[in-house]
Symmetry: none
Subunit: 290 residues, 2 copies
Amino acid sequence: MDDANLTIADRIQARLETLTRAERQLAHAILENYPASGLGPIATLAKDADVSTPTVARMVQKLGFKGYPEFQADLREELKAKVSGPIAKHDTWAEGAPEGHMLNRFTEAVIQNIRHSLAQIDTNDFDAACAQLADTSSRLHIVGGRITHTLAEYLFLHMQMIRPEVIHIQSTSNAWPHYLLDVKEGDTFAIFDVRRYESNTLKLAEIAQARGARIILFTDQWRSPIHSLADICFSSRIVVPSAWDSAATTLLLVETVIAAVQDLSWADTKDRMQTLEDMFDQTKLFRKFT
Amino acid sequence: MDDANLTIADRIQARLETLTRAERQLAHAILENYPASGLGPIATLAKDADVSTPTVARMVQKLGFKGYPEFQADLREELKAKVSGPIAKHDTWAEGAPEGHMLNRFTEAVIQNIRHSLAQIDTNDFDAACAQLADTSSRLHIVGGRITHTLAEYLFLHMQMIRPEVIHIQSTSNAWPHYLLDVKEGDTFAIFDVRRYESNTLKLAEIAQARGARIILFTDQWRSPIHSLADICFSSRIVVPSAWDSAATTLLLVETVIAAVQDLSWADTKDRMQTLEDMFDQTKLFRKFT
DNA sequence: AGAGAACTGAAAGAATAGTTTCATTATTCT
DNA sequence: AGAATAATGAAACTATTCTTTCAGTTCTCT
């Protein structure tokens, strides 16, 4: 073979562009659990990828094999060579990129951040925060800063789908005092404040608390001064090999909160989602696409 | 099963003494190229071990499997678990939380998403994209959709600090055609489009390309239809145990791009940063804080 | 050494896996 | 918008793989 020293995974990668929809779906399934998935029967692989068996048969032929059995034989050869070789260690994330490449250094840092941040979370706090965010008997205000308003808005967009009475306040806007007029005892504030803590956000938090609001704070490892006002405080590590900080860990946390809150309120959310879908249909915002 | 956590190799080792001559011969052949040899057809394995196929069939039954296919299925499972590696072994992320807790399930999914997405990135593409984003000789337009405009804005906020001539367009706004008026040959578009691909965003991409712009696309594993218009396409896996998709992997990618671009343009960025700091001082936006 | 038991493999039979055809559906091009 | 083209999966078909039977062989024990 001319491409004998390329792994099958490489060959699939290389041709990924030229593949059709179902074939690409299949390609992903193969790479997902490579090489194990390709070593089972054709029907199992097809089912995993949610395509038909002929699609699998056709693709392996496209890849240059006479048939599925030959494809498997090659996979086994590859596995044999790999196992007898040096122990496969996953020290790079972007395969093919040098170890010192930004992709690998950055990803490694983020994974470490996630690990440390998650290890410090008190599950009870987490559950309590989610319960509070799911509680529709009071309003939910979401506040972000100069950079973090993007995270705030991300949370806002999802909470808005899940429940009513959600308000997004940008503390950097000079209109924020207006929003505080209607704050009632028992309202919830989800506040984002990370390094370069903003004076506006702190003032806002103080006023909100004075008016009887309960605060859930998303901050960094050094914790915004707001933490002393907060009921619940989540701190994420944000340091990466960059001139700026990483929001990835905080976003992970926010997404997890969204998923948990949505689990708690599924009964109510279901109808909202349906209504939303109907409205999307009417506005033709999205392409018809499976 | 009682011996569920033992590998098949262990089980064979343990029973090695009780096996007959032909079976022991077979056992050694299996262990010789473990697990590859066991994943082929029964006849191949028999031939390798120089025994008959019934011997193989009988031994796998002796080992407690219903038949050879079941034995293979177990081998594949073992391989799957092994390949997903030591990082996956970190079975809980939030210590103290039960394994099935949302925090652990969600984080696990995101880590897998990161792993798979990163493995697929072509380093050359990545470097090329960063070079293009750092090129100040043409303008940079950043476009996001209903949810992804938060990511777009995140990129925008940072690129704005790094270089001049950066514009944020929200494709969901009805003012987006206005932005296209001034697009020139050679301009760069960074476009975000993930599942529930938006028709507006596609149209915008088409027009931009027609006007000679080069497109860098951030999309999901199924790839927005825009990918056929894009110069460079980054696809992230976004599926998590939630009713919604995860933007965490895409954000990681965006942050890495930001870090790399900033490295490329540090000479110019330095001055911009200083000016920005001075302005911050004047507006007293931030608290004085070490 | 010889009878009995256990082991082994050839071959047939049963089951499962892989391939191909063809009608349907989606997509592209005019 | 409509015709042509490509892609896809259900189902029929073919090939291979696995299992079982059974007769020959080897080993063990008296």
